[in-house]
């Protein structure tokens, strides 16, 4: 039932969850490189899978935070609605650039995230 590949996916999910819970940094920063470097997913597939997983993680987190009364729906829509347009553009653009460029941009994102974490 749980083959080697499923086991690796399970490790990616658990690691992404633990790190996002620990540091408040989205699981994507952990999950995408793990899928690329360890599961040998190409960049488009790794980022696509990460988005699908994040929908579940963020949904659970938003529901929990909503129960605590911390979620501001109007402000969330104000940034979230234009972001839906942004993600349609971003995924469209991603199909038109070399995968190598995606990896290099991701590395830049990781360096930025590391700097923000260190400065906090």
């Amino acid at each position: 039932m749980l083959g080697g590949r499923s086991l690796k996916l399970a490790v990616v999910g658990t690691a992404g969850g633990v790190f996002s819970g620990l540091f408040g940094v989205g699981g994507g920063a952990v999950m995408v490189p793990l899928m690329v470097l360890w599961l040998d997913f190409d960049e488009r597939r790794a980022t696509a899978t990460s988005l699908g997983a994040i929908a579940l993680i963020a949904g659970a987190g938003a529901a929990l935070q909503g129960a605590y009364g911390n979620v501001h729906v109007a402000e969330g829509l104000l940034v979230g609605v234009p972001a839906v347009g942004g993600v349609v553009f971003g995924t469209w653009l991603q199909q038109r650039v070399p995968e190598r460029a995606v990896s290099l941009l991701f590395a830049a994102l990781l360096v930025t995230t590391a700097a923000l974490l260190a400065a906090r």
């Binding site: 996916l9 399970a10 999910g13 969850g17 790190f19 996002s20 819970g21 620990l22 989205g26 994507g28 920063a29 999950m31 995408v32 690329v36 470097l37 597939r45 980022t47 696509a48 899978t49 990460s50 988005l51 699908g52 997983a53 994040i54 929908a55 993680i57 963020a58 987190g61 938003a62 935070q65 909503g66 911390n70 979620v71 501001h72 729906v73 402000e75 969330g76 829509l77 104000l78 940034v79 979230g80 609605v81 972001a83 347009g85 942004g86 993600v87 349609v88 553009f89 971003g90 990896s103 290099l104 991701f106 830049a108 994102l109 990781l110 360096v111 995230t113 590391a114 260190a118 906090r120």
Partner: protein
């Protein structure tokens, strides 16, 4: 207001391009432009991420890059993982861990560049 819309669009574009949620941009926009407290901004950012990640995953499915089962396995296991992470954050030396994690991200960045 215009700034919040623009940063929202940019966060979505980064999310689509790199497969992340976009919280790195949502949280500062909510704090600095819309006046939310940090805890509320983190929580509200999660709400904004849901439609972004859903639509992004749907587009990627259309492009033939997504196997829904893979995302389901990862996402379902990440949820208890995040609960464990929050619990760990309360008992472990947070600053030392954070610096260690920052170092790990740099190593991973080098790994991606050299791949």
């Amino acid at each position: 207001m215009i700034g919040a819309l623009a940063i929202g669009f940019a966060a979505g574009a980064v999310a689509g391009m790199l497969g992340v949620g976009g919280g790195t941009l949502f949280v500062p926009a909510l704090v600095l432009l819309l006046g939310l407290a940090h805890v509320e901004a983190e929580a509200t950012s999660l709400l904004a991420i849901v439609p972004v990640a859903l639509v992004g995953a749907w587009r990627q499915y259309g492009y033939g890059n997504l196997r829904p089962r893979d995302a389901l396995v990862i996402g379902l296991l990440a949820i208890p993982g995040a609960v464990a992470g929050v619990a760990l954050a309360n008992v472990l030396p947070e600053r030392a861990l954070r610096l260690g994690f920052a170092g790990l991200l740099l190593v991973v960045a080098v790994g991606l560049v050299r791949r």
